[in-house]
């Protein structure tokens, strides 16, 4: 899979994003890391130009409630509805439903194991191959709930 890992907004904490990038690389995926402080527009362009299968976005600053939905909206506007989006960082439980509603299929918080992330990618990729709605703009109510 081709996976873009992105850090939107002004938050400068990317240890988590880098660990995730590394773990997905070790699981055999091609991972493109955007670097810090990208705008939603830049992240969407990277995901589209790189023909990503997955886009992982990380935020620890509290700006996820604005930035994550904006990224999903732009992806859908620009033909990236089939890209599978997942999020991570410090995301309060109360905010998660709103993020799932804009098409984000999984939210990974502190304590998530790398094995779980790898399983998510595997399961979501299989769903896509089977033609089940999994991309950010494909609707349906599937979200990752662990196994």
């Amino acid at each position: 899979m081709r996976i873009v890992i992105a850090k939107p907004g002004l938050d400068g904490h990317d240890r988590g994003a880098k660990v995730v990038a590394r773990a997905l690389r070790d699981a055999g995926h091609e991972v493109i890391y955007t670097g810090l402080r990208r705008t939603p527009e830049q992240i969407v362009r990277t995901a589209l130009d790189e023909d990503a299968d997955f886009l992982g976005i990380s935020s620890l600053s509290g700006a996820h409630a604005f930035l994550f939905p904006r990224i999903c909206e732009l992806l859908c506007e620009q033909g990236g509805q089939d890209i599978i989006v997942f999020g991570g960082g410090i995301i309060p439980t109360d905010d998660r439903d709103d993020l799932h509603n804009v098409g984000i299929r999984a939210i990974f918080g502190p304590g998530t194991t790398m094995e779980e992330m790898r399983r998510f990618v595997e399961v979501a990729a299989t769903r896509r191959t089977d033609g089940e709605p999994t991309g950010v703009g494909e609707g349906g109510d599937w979200v990752w709930g662990g196994e």
């Binding site: 890391y33 023909d51 033909g79 494909e138």
Partner: protein, 300 residues
């Protein structure tokens, strides 16, 4: 799939047409199908590149500043109204097949400039350190209307030489303090480069490095130009951009180019064989050895 361009759902002719009319999403889907071997030169009816200098290989050892230099060049080309694409190659893990593609991170222009398209490419453990389909990817970009395609290599080993099979001009990037004048005498990509830059010219030792290179190359005759630039402060970038737009081929590399193209095609044919896994297991179990298999296959 309900949405977007699906590689399965969109006929390739339409994708190519959309890519040529400036649809970036169609272009990126098309490049994926070329990279994955779904589409070929034949299925796309793309002729071999004319060798007019529109595909430029950028090579040099890791850490000499290739990606930062490419970013500076992108800004300069874009400012003069050129559309430029980059294929940035990074290595895949020989153990897992995974890759962390990090060149794009150093190219600020990659995510904003409408004249610029950057695509990260993993080597996928192809022999020679260059993906076998890289050449066709570059030619798709030329066909899609980019004035220039820059191909940035991994910068190590055989990929430095094999780049001539893909690019019609080669820019070798050097940096100060990479060795004494004897390093500059060594054979290899130095002989194939159409131009050489010493990057990091703001650092001590850059003048010396450029002088050593020039004096080594002068002995052979028909030396390539040697420029000094600094990707950090921008010195010399405009001159380099102008040089690259009209860079003549030194010509001497023509046989080497065909040799590398033949090897690339040969490797591709080998790796695409249906029975590759069986051959590998037979080799592993000692049923025959590699030389035997090759000579038997060649005589078939």
């Amino acid at each position: 799939m309900a949405t977007g361009y699906g590689a399965e759902s969109e006929p390739v002719g339409e994708l190519l047409e959309a890519a040529c009319s400036g649809d970036r999403r169609a272009l990126s889907k098309l490049l994926t199908s070329v990279e994955d071997g779904v589409e070929s030169r034949h299925s796309l009816s793309i002729p071999h590149n004319s060798g007019d200098g529109s595909i430029i290989g950028i090579t040099g050892a890791p850490g000499v500043g290739k990606s930062c230099l490419v970013d500076r060049l992108l800004k300069s080309f874009s400012n003069s109204g050129k559309r430029v694409a980059v294929l940035a190659v990074d290595p895949s893990s020989p153990l897992t097949g995974g890759a962390l593609l990090g060149d794009r991170l150093r190219m600020e222009t990659a995510d904003d400039d409408p004249n610029v398209y950057v695509r990260s490419v993993a080597t996928r453990n192809q022999p020679g350190g260059l993906p076998v389909r890289l050449g066709l990817m570059a030619e798709v970009l030329v066909t899609a209307g980019f004035d220039l395609v820059l191909v940035e290599t991994v910068g190590a080993g055989q990929s430095e030489v094999r780049i001539v099979s893909v690019a019609d001009r080669v820019l070798l990037v050097e940096a100060p303090s990479r060795g004494d004048e004897v390093q500059a005498e060594k054979a290899g990509v130095l002989e194939l480069a159409d131009a050489i830059v010493v990057n990091k010219s703001d650092l001590e030792g850059a003048d010396r490095a450029a002088t050593d290179l020039r004096s080594a190359l002068d002995i052979a005759g028909n030396p390539p130009p040697v420029l000094q630039v600094s990707a950090r402060n921008g010195d010399g970038i405009e001159e380099l951009a102008v040089l690259l737009l009209g860079l003549p081929s030194r010509g001497g590399a023509s046989m080497a180019r065909w040799r590398e193209r033949l090897l690339t095609a040969w490797d591709a044919a080998l790796l695409e064989r249906q029975d590759l896994d069986e051959v590998l297991s037979a080799l592993d179990s000692g049923e025959f050895d590699a030389d035997e298999w090759v000579s038997r296959t060649l005589s078939d």
